[in-house]
Structure formats: C-alpha cells, structure tokens
C-alpha cells in the first residue's frame, strides 16, 4: 500500500517510523538512499531525533548544532578508510560449523573406514614396536637372535605371520609362534616372502642355521616347538 504514497510521504512517515524502530525492512534501505540524496530527509531525521530528545530531557537541547557537527564529522570520516564489509564476506562464505544433523551423522560415516584403519594402524604399531625393540638393544649381541622378526607372506591369502625368536607366547599378544619347522627360516620361496631385514639379520640367520644343523635330530621331531623370546624392554 505504500506504493500509493509519494516520495515525500515516504520520506516523512517512514522516517518517523524508522526513528521509532517500527519501519518495514525495505523502508530502511529507502530511507538510507533518501538520506544520501535529500537534504530535507537529513533535516527531518535530525528534527525527529531532536524532538524526542527534548521531550525526554531539556538538557538534550543544549548541544552543538546538528548540521555543523555532522559537517565536521564528515570531514573527519572522509579521511577514514571505508569499512571492508566483513559481514557480507562472512555471509557469502559457507559456515565453518556444520549443522547439528550433519555433525550427528559424522560418527556413522567414520565407522565405514574405522575398521580397516584400525587393522592397518595395529599392523603399523606392531611393526614399529618390533623395530623399536631392536633399536633399544642395538649392541646386545647375544640377544640378537631373540629380537629377530620375520614377516612372512604366508600363502595366497597374504596372511601375515610374525615369527619371533624365543618369544613367550603370552609375551606379545597377537603374535604367532611358529613351530620349528615353519620357523626354520629355511628358504622361503622367493617372491612370496616379505622380509624386514636388519643388517644383522644375515649373521643371525647364519648362526641360527648352523645351530639347526647341529640339532637336526631335534628339529625333525613333531610337536617340538621352538620357544621364542621377545624382549619388549
């Protein structure tokens, strides 16, 4: 219905409503545009504000002249940099925080890859522990055999089996102690074995094979399991 009004009607009545915080949102934009272009709108805005202030307190009439104050302020304001619109920039940018529904569904999405990741992480942790355990006692020549680790690509299903020298079965959960036959380290088929090899491994293997050769009679007994020791310190 406001379309029926002339600009002057708008400038007056809408400005009055704007002064009271009762204008329509579109009237704010029109009032701001009119403020820039029309001196009478500026004078009316000042008059309306002055009337309200004086009605509330006579003291508020006792101030500097409005137009002189504004003119002086404009001079100073012209030297100020224009405000870069942070609000507009933020409005165009997608919000960083996710909606509550999306955030609630996030754990469910995570579950899809959590299992494989946990397996992979466990594997990396075990291998890391083994490698670090070798690093802890690098100079312990006699215990070199004890700290050997072999990762064998065990069959077509690529089951990974770790074999530890003389490790107590309960000492490292998840690790499989191999029988002496299996753990003979003897001739893993080329191309099927993945060997994490320490530089001292060859020496250890040589020593181990020699000991196996000397204990051939024992190695052939079924059920004889070679105890391996994993020193986790």
């Amino acid at each position: 219905m406001s379309d029926r009004f002339s600009d002057n009607d708008f400038a007056g009545e809408a400005l009055s409503a704007l002064a009271d915080g009762e204008a329509q949102p579109h009237e704010v934009a029109r009032a701001c545009a009119a403020w820039k272009e029309q001196a009478d709108v500026r004078a009316n805005w000042h008059a309306y504000q002055l009337i309200g202030d004086v009605m509330r307190s006579d003291d508020l009439a006792r101030t500097s002249q409005g137009d002189a104050f504004l003119a002086s302020f404009r001079t100073r304001l012209a030297q100020e940099p224009v405000v870069l619109a942070p609000v507009a920039a933020n409005a165009q940018r997608p919000p960083v925080s996710q909606p509550a529904a999306t955030a609630a569904a996030e754990p469910l999405r995570r579950r899809a890859w959590a299992g494989p990741m946990a397996v992979a992480a466990g594997f990396v942790m075990v291998v890391g522990a083994l490698l670090s355990s070798q690093g802890i006692q690098p100079g312990a020549g006699s215990s070199l055999d004890d700290s050997l680790a072999q990762v064998v690509n065990h069959g077509p299903a690529s089951d990974l089996v770790l074999s530890l020298g003389d490790a107590p079965v309960g000492g490292a959960s998840g690790l499989v102690a191999l029988s002496a036959d299996e753990a003979s380290f003897s001739k893993p088929q080329s191309g099927e074995a993945l060997l994490i090899r320490d530089p001292r491994l060859d020496q250890a293997l040589i020593g181990h094979r020699s000991s196996l050769t000397s204990e051939t009679s024992f190695a052939g007994r079924s059920g004889l399991t070679r105890q391996v020791v994993f020193d986790g310190r």
Binding site: S16, K36, Y48, L50, M55, R56, S57, A68
Partner: protein
C-alpha cells in the same frame, strides 16, 4: 468478530482481500489513518543501520551520529567541563566507533557500546587535559613577566557555556513544549506514549484502541506539527546546511 472494527481489520485482514464495504471504510477514513498494515517491523533500527555500515554504507553511520550526537555530548559534558572540548571528544568518539564497527558483534545494544567508547575517549582526553594544565601552569610560573598569557589560558579552560547557545537551547525546548501543548489530544497522547513512555506501536495501539497504522500516522503528524514550529529556529541557527 466485528469486521468493521478497524483494529481487527488492520491486524488480521490482508489488504488485497478486504470486503468491499471495509475497503470503502478505509478510503473514507480520516486522511492518513487506517492505511498501513505494519507487518513485521524491524525491531532494532540501530542494528539495521549498523549492518548497513558493516556492508560498506558509510552514510548509514551518519544517521546514527545524528541520532546519538546529543546524548553523547551530554554524557561527555558531564565528564569534561570544558564545553569547547565536548564537541571534539564527541567527534572522536564517533570516529573511534566507526573504526571499531567491523568488530561490533551486536552482543550489546549499539548505544551501550557507543557509551563505553565515549567514556573511554573522555577519560583519555581528561588525562591529556590534566597534562596540558600542568604544562601550562609550569609555563605560567616560568614566564611570569608575560601579563597577557594568564587570562588567555584561563579563558581557554573555562567551563562557562556560551550564552547564545544556552538561549538557543532554551528556545528549542520551549518551542517543542509549546508545540506539544498545541497538538490534538490523539496526537499528543500518541507522541507522548512513544517518546516519553517508550511504548511500541503495538502497545500504543492497544492503549489507544486504534490500528497500528493509525498510531504510526498520528506519531508522524505529531512530529511534523512540532517540527514545523521548530524548523525556523533550526534554520536560523544552522543556516539550513543539511
């Protein structure tokens, strides 16, 4: 429900769906009344203007300056008794507010925020003023042979008010009060409930038993009647430089 009750019509009937008889009632109503449906008005005009400034509309800040200039000057005048400094400090207050406006989050009312800036600006100015006074007094003690210097410094630091501006302020107050007395009862009641009691249009509508659009129109006409008496005074004082 009485459909011819203008208040009911104003709040519940869409303008394009009014029965013919009611539409005639609107057209034949007193000029300026019953013609608005105040739907979803902005609640906080300051927030709307601040948002425009934050989007780069520098001119919107001028509307805030004009709105709060008198209150800020009165606040500063109570802290700094040198009236010559009041306007400068008020200007500095608004400039600081403009600089800080991008960081204004609307967690408090704009005027509350502006008030704090004004108090801090005035305090800083007072510190500088005390330093200047000390410097001036030491200059006076060191240059006692200059007889003309002392009266001039005292004059600069006086807190006396300009008689002309005091007279003009009294005239403005008297003119506003006289113009209010001359208003019709409806207009005087509407503008008084709004400006002095601080009621919203809806509350005034309830109290005066009339549509919100009528309240809006009455307040506007009351302001215009007062401003008509006030303008000659303002123009002569300000020179019409708006």
């Amino acid at each position: 429900m009485n459909q011819h009750d203008p208040k009911v019509m104003d709040e519940q009937t869409p303008p394009n769906e009014m029965p013919e008889g009611v539409a005639q009632l609107v057209v034949s109503a007193t000029e300026g009344e019953l013609r608005h449906e105040a739907v979803d008005p902005i609640v906080d005009v300051d927030a709307a203007l601040v948002a425009r400034v934050q989007r780069g509309d520098q001119k919107a800040f001028e509307m805030l300056v004009v709105k709060y200039q008198r209150r800020i000057e009165r606040l500063i005048a109570r802290m700094v008794r040198d009236v010559d400094l009041v306007e400068d400090i008020a200007q500095e207050t608004f400039i600081r507010a403009y600089r800080a406006l991008p960081n204004f989050r609307g967690e408090s009312a704009f005027y509350t925020w502006l008030y704090r800036i004004a108090v801090n600006t005035a305090k800083k100015a007072m510190i500088g003023l005390k330093r200047d006074i000390l410097l001036t007094e030491s200059a006076r003690s060191g240059a006692g042979d200059d007889e003309d210097e002392a009266p001039r410094v005292e004059n600069e630091l006086s807190d006396g008010e300009n008689p002309e501006s005091l007279m003009a302020s009294r005239q403005i107050a008297e003119t506003v009060n006289a113009a209010i007395e001359a208003l019709s009862e409806d207009l005087r009641q509407a503008i008084t409930l709004r400006e002095i009691e601080g009621l919203s249009y809806e509350e005034i509508s309830d109290l005066m038993n009339c549509p919100i659009g009528t309240v809006r129109s009455r307040i506007f006409r009351a302001r215009e009647a007062i401003a008509t008496r006030l303008r000659p005074l303002l123009d002569s004082r300000q020179g019409g430089r708006w």
